[in-house]
Chain length 188, copies 2
Amino acid sequence: MAGKRRRTAEESRTIVLETAARRLREHGLDGLNITGVAEEAGISHATLLHHFGSSGEMRDALAEKMTRELIEDLVRAMDARVSPAELAGNVFSALAEGGHAKLLAWRAVEGKQEDGDLSEVRALFDQLLHTTQNVLDVDSREDLQRVILVVATAAIGYGIAGVVLTDVLGMSEEVVETFPTWVTESFG
Amino acid sequence: MAGKRRRTAEESRTIVLETAARRLREHGLDGLNITGVAEEAGISHATLLHHFGSSGEMRDALAEKMTRELIEDLVRAMDARVSPAELAGNVFSALAEGGHAKLLAWRAVEGKQEDGDLSEVRALFDQLLHTTQNVLDVDSREDLQRVILVVATAAIGYGIAGVVLTDVLGMSEEVVETFPTWVTESFG
DNA sequence: ACTACTATCAACATTTATGTCAATAACAAA
DNA sequence: TTTGTTATTGACATAAATGTTGATAGTAGT
């Protein structure tokens, strides 16, 4: 029926990766097969392969995109000139948010170690350490590292198992909602 | 060549599930295909299907087994008559240990909500709340819930992303090793 | 209008995963 | 020994995912 719609290569790659990210959220890893992604993206799977080379490379590209978005969220969280506790709360939210936690869970369960630009993440956390070292009430650089680590790990764990845990602990909705704030204020 | 080795049904199921658990640890979710599991377990994949019915049922059985082991580890961690901080440390270790964190990551990324015996987990955490409410230095039941939640989420996040995070934070080995203790002592 | 480039896709080919079946054989009980 | 049960498996069947190819058709530049 409809004649071929010709997009730029970048446009197609973007559509595919956005579709793949949505399917990962909604259907889990099973949603990342190229036939399904291509169909939902409205292109043939041959076209998808033309742009990415292989199924694995598409997944790698998706992981890279999601990692980049996670970093951007973290940067945004740190850019805001707010109180230390609020900054920590932003970092918590950025990490705990569903899609990002799922990215980390995915990579963990696949046994993929972070290949490439871990240096970018490293620089980011360097910045975080620098930004917070003068405002957070900690004695040493070691304590600062510990505080950041506990906030980060708690956020990730919360993003992955928060619903179940607050359930089995019988926590009220109000206590749940104020938990991120409580965590960060307990340290900030 | 070798004649048929006949095991009891339970024996075969055990061998299969142990093999599957090992493959999940070593190869990620891709390791859970029945052909691979059967081969590594030393049986035909037809036999595997005979015992489990389908690939999905084998995975469900594996998830159940791993959940049971996680609960047993938690029970063990709580049984020990130790100081509150040490108890919290044991809970931390039980959750952070590789296999268990991977189980939770797996379920999170598959979007499976806990189907069945969540009641068992609930009872366990009830016990934990009861055991700790008199020994931990907290003001209210709400604070107790928060403390347990932060220890549990930090442990899970640590099991999933601990290596990467301690790396990008540039933490020394000594600080890393004492982190679980530090977390629990900061609250206990 | 012409050309070069390449995004697009249907059809085909291949590989892998999953599931079925009928026959065999180990083991326990009668 | 005989018999019933069922764990076991090779061979086959099916389904699903991935990858390949050749032809078609937008689009930009000349």
